[in-house]
Symmetry: C2
Subunit: 411 residues, 2 copies
């Protein structure tokens, strides 16, 4: 049959061949013409949390992404308990317990009364370095104060099921709101960020004022008192808790294990989110200098730099709304050891998408490369932590959010 | 049967029920336990060019993305011919003709001899404002010069099938390579960018040297001669073609129709790609000031800003490797009128992904919002233009690249 067609197709049934060619052409025309229907065109839809587990590519090797827990409401911070399990804060004021891989339905009782407004409410959580012995847990949160609100640090004991004796051990100047991260340094001191220096002309100037806690990194003892080495102790008009100043709103705080330096990132206004190395007594310039613009367009300053104010290590322009900061030290992703991971909650103002950002430093701690991971998933990332298992854990930011676990995909 | 099970299942065959529950539990355990096989886990794979047409979401409304032509080799620039059809440059030195919706297999004859090295070769293409009458076409390209290379501007006539009388009308100082865009302004003058001011210590300093064309925007007449209004005419040690200086490597050039201002973006080193409004005689600072880092980490300068050097309108940190620049004025995307579109060829150094960036300006021309479009497609975008049909056309950057057309998706 084939041979016959090859030899003399037209001789046998020429009109049929022509008709076939005509039909084929008609089909092609219908498909290729500008007027063809879009009904049959596929719509791209990104993966959903319900599609997990799923494997995603990275520049190093593929990763398996699993949802360890779902149904979290705007989770903000997380800690891994020494005996296994996790505590996860929710912005609305609840702390959730993950035990034996399952999220307990009832929140942990004994949390402080939280003032929830817009993006602010219950924020970060940290364990005392000796938590296994003393059960101490720390929470930062926005609380009612003088008919307004402020940021406070509470300390209590977690007995495995509830918080006991949870009470404030530090309360910031009233009328302060904003993000707050807390971190115990290897020396046992407690660093705490206090946001709330948002807008030039109203609250931003507080970042430069020593009598406000807004826009500062604080260094405290484990009882909430100012650390003895703080730079402004005895300085007129300065709170003794202040370690560094000139910040806007910080939602990521970590220590670089290679150098012992404290790093933090902060949200700028439009464009110019910063990643800083936090130095004792350092002034990071907000709002005296900024690369950012007001949300309605004008530059905040014609001058983005001044010699006496500290430069960030790097920026994000456009803003990514960073939250969560990790220097990875585990052995499950050997290629990522020493790299910085930052959760990103959006790109620009228009469209909310997020990713996990990886920043590679050279031996001198200087940036040499970036990678955006999981942008395909389209989830805003609120926090990023390393688990005791060496895996990477993420909290997404949403009404219905998830705790995600990243592990190496099998080859 | 069902009714029976509901009423007294255990009474009838209790061991079978238990066995079923056991089997079900076993299945669940196998699936949920940490050791379960990843073989059944789906892998995310981004859409391919061969999956087009496809509809993608944007913050305004969905867009239909079609591949108008495929099989292009590193296309760089494109123009729409007045009688229909398009000319598309390929970096390797060829110009391709798209006619009646089909890409002609043979390149257009009559192009100049192009020196192709790394990222450089044949670059941009532009039509004379009176092209319909005089058939004049302009090409910028890297050409052999004194055993090295330089950037040149060639002019010839396109007769519908071939270039005639194509010859250089401007040749930059020798030992210049780099990207080059060309643009006819409404007043008939021709703006041309010349890159090649890459690395501090070697070529970057040429951006500040009046006797080099590298790192400059030039303003020419349509015959390649210097424009009479150029700011450095008569200045000792300055080429008369120079319009602005202190640039690094520019691959996008457009006029803001709302103001008549010339805008251009440029590639920085690591971090700090810039979008500038190009002013007469302006010095944009490279490499005297920069926010960027050398690729191996150190800052290029401790000082990122100087009062006498012009600030960009905005940056990209991390770098997106911008290429192509459009102010959209069409009626097919009414919500996007006046918005800036920039092709992006990568995010960071590690992983090559691209997108189309939309920048929204307020009434004073100040940035108020950004959106990343088509990042899901993962294609590097080399050029972005508006067609005479009011649709948006993109060139992807790849060995096997495509001309894409964006149109509003039907509701």
């Amino acid at each position: 049959m084939c041979r016959f067609f090859e030899l003399r197709p037209h001789a046998r049934r020429p009109w049929r061949m022509e008709f076939q060619v005509f039909l084929l052409s008609l089909c092609l025309c219908l498909f290729a013409a500008p007027g063809w229907s879009q009904d049959s065109v596929p719509r791209y839809s990104p993966p959903e949390l319900t599609d997990l587990p799923m494997i995603f590519e990275t520049s190093e090797s593929p990763i398996l992404v699993e949802a360890v827990a779902t149904g979290l409401s705007h989770p903000w911070g997380m800690v891994f308990l020494p005996g296994g399990g996790m505590l996860i804060t929710e912005r609305g004021g609840q702390v959730r317990l993950l035990r034996d891989g399952l999220l307990e339905a009832e929140p942990v009782p004994g949390t402080p009364e939280v003032y929830v407004r817009g993006l602010w409410g219950l924020m970060d959580i940290a364990l005392h370095p000796d938590h296994a012995e003393n059960q101490l847990v720390y929470l930062t949160y926005n609380k009612p104060a003088d008919e307004r609100m402020t940021v406070a640090l509470a300390r209590g004991r977690f007995d495995g099921g509830a918080f006991r004796d949870m009470r404030d051990i530090f309360v910031a100047t009233p009328d302060t709101s904003g993000g707050s991260r807390i971190l115990f340094a290897p020396d046992g001191s407690l660093y705490m960020t206090v946001g709330g220096a948002f807008t030039p002309g109203t609250s931003a100037e507080r970042a430069q004022a020593g009598d406000w806690h807004s826009g500062k990194v604080l260094r405290l003892n484990d009882d909430g008192s100012p650390h003895a080495e703080n730079p402004f102790i005895g300085s007129e008009g300065f709170h003794p808790e202040i370690w560094s100043m000139g910040h806007r709103n910080q939602q990521g705080l970590a220590i670089n294990p290679a150098t012992g330096e404290l790093w933090a990132h902060e949200h700028a206004m439009q464009g110019g989110d910063e990643l800083n190395i936090i130095r004792r007594g350092g002034n990071y310039g907000w709002p005296e200098v900024s690369f950012a613009r007001l949300y309605n367009g004008p530059r905040i300053h014609q001058q983005p730099w001044r010699e006496d104010l500290l430069m960030p290590e790097t920026f994000w322009v456009p803003s990514i709304a960073p939250s969560g900061l990790l220097f990875y030290t585990g052995d499950r992703f050997p290629a990522w050891q020493g790299h910085i991971f930052v959760g990103a909650m959006r790109v620009g103002r228009v469209r909310g998408t997020g990713h996990l950002e990886r920043i590679v430093l050279n031996e001198d701690g200087e940036e040499i490369a970036r990678e955006w991971i999981l942008e395909e998933l389209g989830e805003r990332i609120r926090d990023v932590r390393q688990g005791p298992d060496g895996l990477i854990y993420l909290l997404t930011e949403a009404d219905e959010a998830a705790l995600l676990r990243l592990s190496p995909a099998e080859p």
